[in-house]
């Protein structure tokens, strides 16, 4: 009893020291970056704001995140939420299109032959190029932004899903054949469980790129949103705000990625 407690204690201690170690490295790296930033700021005579000015602005921004003084002056929280809303909409619609298409592409040669050339040609195009098309089609800059995100979210999910389906091992297919699985059982017990980790990988890549693209798309669209906020701050010559926005965009992107990474771990299996 005592002994096992001691062992448990030792194990916990190990985990704690490991975490503390990681945290110390993080602090070290951060301080290093802040010093470089500070020096860069000094060498431009303060033209480029340093960490101290930036953090005071950052603090102001995040301490009143949800104020609303008309269409051109909203809190950073409002900006962030409206960007997240567009990304969520575009990402969901894009995924709802991409996953079934990917399943079709991966499971049939006909589907692959029909879709693959189109995917290969459209995938390398910057999603922003679709913005004008969206403007014409939807007559609204906001909808057009969502449209750009839909296009963005298509490719990685589509390609990873198709890859997943097309690499289902013959062994698994043989089991389904030998034991007479119905199509429904094949899809739910073989195809989806095998493909799910690939789909999630696709979704993770998609959401990452979507979060990058939203900033640029909102610079084009104007209105409310974190990308517009960056552009607006630049016009108001407040680089402190630009830096603050960069920090916030980075943190949100980090959280999004972590979320999908944990999904990936949750739904992966090793054979």
């Amino acid at each position: 009893m005592d002994k096992s407690n001691q062992q448990l204690g030792a194990a916990t201690l190990k985990v704690v020291t490991y975490r503390t170690g990681r945290f110390l490295y993080f602090l070290l790296g951060m301080s290093f970056m802040l010093i470089i930033w500070h020096v860069a700021s000094l060498s431009t005579d303060g033209e480029l704001p340093g960490p101290i000015q930036t953090f005071s602005v950052f603090y102001d921004l995040v301490s009143h995140p949800f104020y609303d003084n008309g269409p051109n002056d909203k809190g950073i929280g409002n900006q962030l939420l409206s960007s997240l809303e567009r990304v969520t909409k575009g990402f969901i619609i894009g995924s709802v299109i991409a996953i079934p298409l990917g399943l079709i592409m991966g499971s049939s040669t006909l589907g692959m032959n029909l879709l693959n050339p189109m995917v290969q040609v459209l995938r390398p195009v910057s999603p922003l190029a679709w913005f004008p098309i969206g403007l014409v089609a939807f007559q609204s800059a906001q909808t057009s932004t969502v449209f750009v995100i839909i296009i963005t979210s298509l490719w990685p999910t589509l390609i990873n899903t198709a890859f997943g389906v097309s690499t289902i091992p013959q062994d698994h297919k043989n089991v389904a054949k030998a034991f007479g699985f119905s199509t429904f059982k094949y899809i739910t017990k073989v195809l989806l469980p095998f493909t799910l980790p690939h789909i999630i990988t696709g979704l993770r890549l998609s959401v990452g790129i979507a979060w990058m693209v939203i900033v640029a798309a909102e610079m084009l669209s104007g209105g409310v949103g974190i990308g517009f906020f960056v552009w607006d701050s630049w016009n108001a010559l407040s680089l402190e705000k630009v830096f603050s926005a960069i920090l916030i965009i980075g943190l949100v992107g980090f959280v999004l990625d972590k979320t999908f990474k944990s999904l990936q771990t949750r739904y992966s299996y090793d054979s």
């Binding site: 089991v175 030998a178 034991f179 007479g180 119905s182 059982k185 299996y269």
Partner: protein
């Protein structure tokens, strides 16, 4: 002790086999696979007639086409020439009348031991309640002593345990033909021995109505279990080299049969067929890959 007089002459065995209805007919089957270097002929001109309730072993060197032949009977592989007839019907695909134990177990890695068996039962056995399906799964799990491990995933099992799950899965769908591709290969000697007994018990329970084809590398195992042993030539284009009839009376007892002259002579003949330059008399010798 079994008296020597009980040993059936080859003719008598043949006679008694011929009284039973035909279960599987392999008619002039040739199987070839397309490869980048052209057609690869795995097995050629295979003719085999198996009667209902027979236990047949397939023996041959690694890569000679044993699994290919099994897949052709199961309907997973189409012959490029000839046909296979099971229970009077031409084989065109897999069917629940044939239960398969794959050489590499082929369990679905995201399903537990229990679920792996349940999904097969659920697909293959129609017209019974969910409760009855669960009862079948439990019974077969108990048969292979895996009840305590029923909620584990395949990755948490040893090779032998996976093999037992695959065996339970094939048995659970109660097929009239069992196709076992090296079913006991990954088992330790003790477990193997008890699985042999279990297999024969199941076969007896069903009034010896199930036809069993088994691939093995183990000559003793083949003799102990089989009515006939089919020895294949080396590939490519492997043909049947010899069919040995095992005339040992049933029920067989492992300890007793090894002393019978009939046993020794079959073993000798098989060794000669399989080991090219067999010279040293060694009682422990086994045919390995």
């Amino acid at each position: 002790m079994i008296a020597n007089t009980n040993i059936l002459s080859e003719d008598k065995v043949k006679e008694s086999i011929l009284l039973r209805p035909v279960s599987i007919e392999v008619k002039d089957v040739t199987v070839s696979f397309p490869t980048p270097k052209g057609e690869y002929i795995a097995v050629k001109n295979i003719d085999l007639e198996i009667r209902k309730g027979e236990i047949i072993s397939l023996i041959g060197h690694s890569g000679c086409g044993k699994s290919t032949l099994m897949s052709t009977i199961s309907g997973m592989v189409k012959p490029s020439k000839g046909e296979v007839i099971v229970n009077g019907k031409k084989v065109t695909g897999a069917g629940p009348d044939r239960g398969i134990v794959f050489q590499n177990y082929s369990l679905l890695p995201w399903l537990t031991v229990y679920e792996n068996i349940y999904e097969a039962v659920d697909s293959c056995i129609k017209g019974i309640s969910t409760d009855e399906k669960h009862a079948i799964v439990e019974e077969n799990l108990a048969m292979v002593n895996l009840t305590p491990h029923q909620d584990k995933l395949p990755k948490q099992l040893s090779g032998g345990m996976k093999q037992r799950v695959a065996i339970a899965r094939a048995f659970a769908i109660n097929p009239s033909v069992l196709l076992l591709d090296e079913p006991f290969g990954a088992l330790d000697a003790l477990t193997k021995g008890s699985m042999h007994v279990e297999l024969l018990k199941l076969w007896n329970l069903d009034n010896r109505n199930k036809t069993i084809i088994m691939v093995t590398h183990d000559i003793e195992e083949a003799i102990f279990l089989s009515d006939r042993i089919v020895v294949l030539n080396n590939g490519p284009a492997a043909t049947i080299k010899e069919i040995e009839i095992v005339g040992l009376p049933r029920p067989r007892n492992k300890k007793d049969i090894v002393n019978l002259p009939e046993y020794k002579s079959i073993r000798e003949r098989l060794l000669n067929l399989l080991v090219e330059k067999f010279s040293i008399e060694d009682d422990g010798v086994k045919f390995e890959e």
